[in-house]
Amino acid sequence: MENVMNQKDQPLAIEAVDLVKRFGKHRAVDGINLAIPQGTVYGFLGPNGAGKTTTMKMLATLLKPDGGTAKIFGHDLFKEQDAVRACVSLTGQFASVDEDLSGTENLMLIARLMGYTRSDSKDRAAELLDAFDLQDAAKRQVKKYSGGMRRRLDIAASMVVRPKLLFLDEPTTGLDPRSRNQIWDIVRALVSTGTTVLLTTQYLDEADQLADRIAVIDHGKIIAKGTSSELKASVGTGILHVRLIDAAARAEAQQLLSTTLGTPVHLSSDPSALSAQLSDTDHAAKALTMLSDHQIRVSEFSLGQPSLDEVFLTLTGKPAEDSPQKEGALE
């Protein structure tokens, strides 16, 4: 049993066995097992409607599972709901702050609900707004915030009393690159203070950047899990991209590469570019030498790890594209 072994190594923040959630006939979550060590970032990666949010909602006590068991910091998800709720905090896919209230009022409300007195809640709100660079917007209604500000306030609201476990549901969906980087910095800072984070994302580079371990979820099932490098390694060690000076030589180059490397060579949409999977990165040098021996001149080349996009393609047989119209019905 994987779970028992892990427990010996490291205390677990989340331990779930065979979680199932059905909506009518549809099995939104279809037997998910998790063993997430404390103090780490765990990423759920998958397209819309894969069951990421549903799983998260069950672990946050918002949805009752139809099967399976789970423990959050050793507390049974069903029998000790209050103890579980005292450990976790949730920030939703659609910002779970109150749009009609100001930033200060939102944080004061959460602080009051956590047991702060009125004046302490005011101080805590001011401290958090300052920490999350929202002090200038403190008195503004949240509906006038930008997407990034809203997300930061949402996370700040979860940090009024720092939870042991934070659920971040698609923290950067719809944000511009700068706001996205800010959120990533925040998540790293949270983890450095000891919070365990479970995040869902559709962005492969986000999982790559933040998560210690990743579970790839599709149709309610975990189809692969491991570190980002493990997942990439399962696809192959790397990819060689080559761009030729003379596009006319591409056919010859393709033949040369495929005989040298022994793997299929793909022609890109760029008429002078081609790429090949490598079973061993040492072969790259050999392949380039071979091209120059045949007077095929190369304008640029690169050796890269496969992207998580390619991982997803290999695992599911289809690209990591989402189907937005399914989202509302399923999650």
Binding site: S89, S96, E99, D100, L113, M159, D185
Partner: protein
């Protein structure tokens, strides 16, 4: 934001603070009531239903029908004001369900439901805040009545007791609309269905006319209609009589409403996905 200074500030704000003791259900309910009242500050228009409508209804019924129904508008006012007070407040309860539905359709409630607080407090808090709205509506009706010539024999005490009774009944009744707010998909649907329920219940009552001239089957309904019982109690209290049987009936109906609809509402709230 990306500066080291900002990150240090953040880490400082996140290191373990002493966790305050868990608040009581009463405290958390009050916090939610505070939240609802703050919304009035930002959207004062939402008070329109408790200010404009009672004024309009009172004026309309007094001057359109008063003379025909009671011989003179002055006589009709003595009869109408307690009734219009009941109608105004009862209609205001619908907005409880509508605003809850709008609230839940945003993500805010997911956070509340995953917090270690007394489960019903978001709902109880919202209902408490609505009691403030009901009180406001009551005061407006009474003041307008006094201006027009309403002279309650029960004095201040009778009027206050009457308002209290309406508040108790409305708090209980609003659980029905809170339940509808959780069952129905859109705020529009909540509004539509609630109004469909409320129109017959408020008009087929003794709010506007004495049921003596109604056909027998309708009179039978009007007489057992809780809205009629409440209106009668109010007329008596404001008229200076205390009829304990009537008052106890109102309290029983209120208790039954809470006992049935509060648990159902809470069940729906906990299991809402």
């Amino acid at each position: 934001m990306n500066s080291e200074q900002q990150l240090n500030k953040m880490r400082a704000a996140l290191v373990d603070h002493k966790r305050p003791p868990h608040p009581s259900g009463f405290t958390t309910s009050l916090a939610f009531a505070w939240r609802a009242l703050l919304k009035i500050k930002y959207v004062p228009e939402q008070l329109l239903d408790v200010t404009f409508f009672p004024v309009m209804f009172t004026l309309m019924f007094t001057y359109l029908f008063g003379g025909a129904l009671a011989g003179s508008t002055a006589d009709y006012l003595q009869f109408l004001i307690p009734g219009i007070l009941v109608q105004t407040v009862v209609f205001t309860t619908v907005y409880t369900g509508v605003s809850l539905n709008e609230d839940i359709s945003k993500g805010t409630f997911d956070r509340f439901r995953s917090m270690p607080i007394w489960g019903p407090s978001p709902l109880v808090g919202a209902l408490l805040a609505d009691t403030v709205r009901y009180t406001l509506a009551s005061i407006i009706v009474i003041i307008l009545g006094l201006i027009l010539g309403f002279r309650p024999a029960g004095g201040v005490l009778g009027v206050v007791a009457g308002i209290m009774l309406v508040l108790i009944f409305s708090f209980s009744l609003s659980w029905v609309f809170t339940m509808l707010g959780l069952i129905l998909q859109t705020a529009k649907a909540v509004m539509g269905i609630s109004m469909t329920l409320l129109f017959p219940v408020t008009f087929a009552s003794n709010i506007f006319v004495d049921p003596a001239t109604m056909p027998g089957w309708l009179r039978a309904f009007v007489n057992i209609n809780p809205v009629s019982i409440l209106t009668t109690s109010l007329r008596q209290l404001m008229g200076g009589q205390v009829n304990w049987m009537q008052i106890i009936w109102v309290l029983i109906v209120s208790a039954v409403l809470i006992l049935i609809f509060a648990p159902v509402t809470m069940y729906l709230y906990r299991n809402k996905r």
